[in-house]
Amino acid sequence: MSQIEEVSIEKFKHLVSERALTGETMLLNMGPQHPSTHGVLRLLLELDGEIIVNCIPDIGFLHTGIEKNMEAKTYQKAEVMTDRLDYMNTMGNNLAYVIAVEKLVDLDVPVRAQGLRVILTELQRIASHLVWLGTSGLDLAAMSMFLYCFREREQILDIFELVSGQRMMTTYFRPGGVWRDVPVEFEKAVRDFIKIFPRRIDEYETLLTKNPLFIDRMVSIGYLSKEVALQYGVTGPILRASGVDWDLRKARPYSGYEQYDFNVPTRTEGDTYARYLVRIDELRESLKIVVQALNKLPLGPVRSENRKFVPPPRSEIGVSMESLIHHFKLWTEGFPAPKASIYSAVESPRGELGLMLEGDGGPKPLRVHLRTPSFDNLSVLPQIVKGHLVADLVAILASTDIVLGDIDR
């Protein structure tokens, strides 16, 4: 056995108060295997009794070098890496990526594909919020919430399996459209979900919203002001719970979001309970979008006809020389993108998911940067937990809805 090095306080001296140096306050390690950290997050806490004086998050345990890996692959192949990023929001990550590629090479997308993308991304948003609701309920000892939420999430994952063959790592959206058209069973599966889900949201609310134990743990805990939130680049439901009406689906509509009628729920309280209420309202709004998009969904092609970027269907390859050449070129070499850089962002369940894509004229990107919302949302955590009890930290961390795959990339 090699010697285990003792962690010295020297490295963190500038981050803790002077009382920690004299031993008056205690340094406590929380995680990386603590169940309420939702993955592998380590928090170094400076405690005065049970009150948190300082909190130093330590991340990187799940760093897999996704950006570096994407830079070594062609534009089509790099997409599979985006699934592994935020594993609660795979469709949303695919959407962010394909929109960025389409913007970089200036590619059109058929209307039906746009509609399908909206339906599936909104279902994914519901699934992601359900995981958040279930796990944060679990953190606050509402065990049954977890089981109820995963029951509904299962139904959504079944729809994903129906369309893409995969429950989680879907890679269903492709530059220029979607992989293939949805099967005939798709509409019924989504309609079944639409039919039962509003009642289920009411059920969750009867269990939690007015529950005195739940309210005690949530109300006026973890207050985050609008100014601090913006300073720390916080986006998504957390920002909206602090009173800022900012949703990229409304502000900068993409994928045809401008056609749908939905509200952006906001609250002004800025506490843990407000974040809970915003997300519950978002479940209803997302369902509204799914209903409208499904009713409006037109028939037609689901992939662009631009053969320079989108491979031809299998049936054409046997009869058309051109198609065979395109197919061969696209899958061996890939398509070239201009020597330029773009930034495009979509609204993920956690906030602004941005993608900076820089081409170098060849088939591989020179630089892919993923601006992931959880990273910035976590960086504000030390500011909002100060002065709270350790038990409240669990509630606050649950309300920020971080996904470690999204933070560490």
């Binding site: 991340i59 950006e67 570096k68 680049g233 630089r367 940067h369 601006r371």
Partner: protein, 186 residues
Amino acid sequence: MDKKLEPIVKAVQDKFGATYEEFRDEVHLFVNPEQIVDALTLLRDEHNFELLSALTATDYWPQTAPRFHVIYQLTSLEKNLSVQIRVPVNGSSPKASTPERASGQCEPSRSIPTATGVYAVANWRERELLDMFGIEIDGHPDPRRILMPEDHVGHPLRKDYPLGYEEPQFTFNFDEIDLRKPYAKE
């Protein structure tokens, strides 16, 4: 370019002599490293760019002047505008333990001042720059690695850092490769 963005770009151009590029309706302003904090402060205070959406860099290795572009993506919630600021940074960082440093071919480096005072989010994002690209940040309050282990050598997102594949083992060379595989040591 968006009509609302024109006066803002002009203001930055007049004050800092910045040049700009445009691609697919996105504006990239080029600013010198010394001016970046002033430029960010100007945009935040006078033109309502409240949110620093992204802070990252691109490595143009083997080109060394500039080797990096440090990129600041700003968003104005009130005016619904976006602008990108790019700061060219020359050479490799002197403290970085990269091969060119060892061979003494390192260009004199130029670091950039920290933007933490303007946007607090820059704190973690600049630590990421330091970790992934080895770009020195002057006056950073907490200059530690953020994603990689503390004792890691090199900066993974640099273009001269190898991607690192695992050697495939076959029956005829299994033991040979097994010997140099980096297993955890007892």
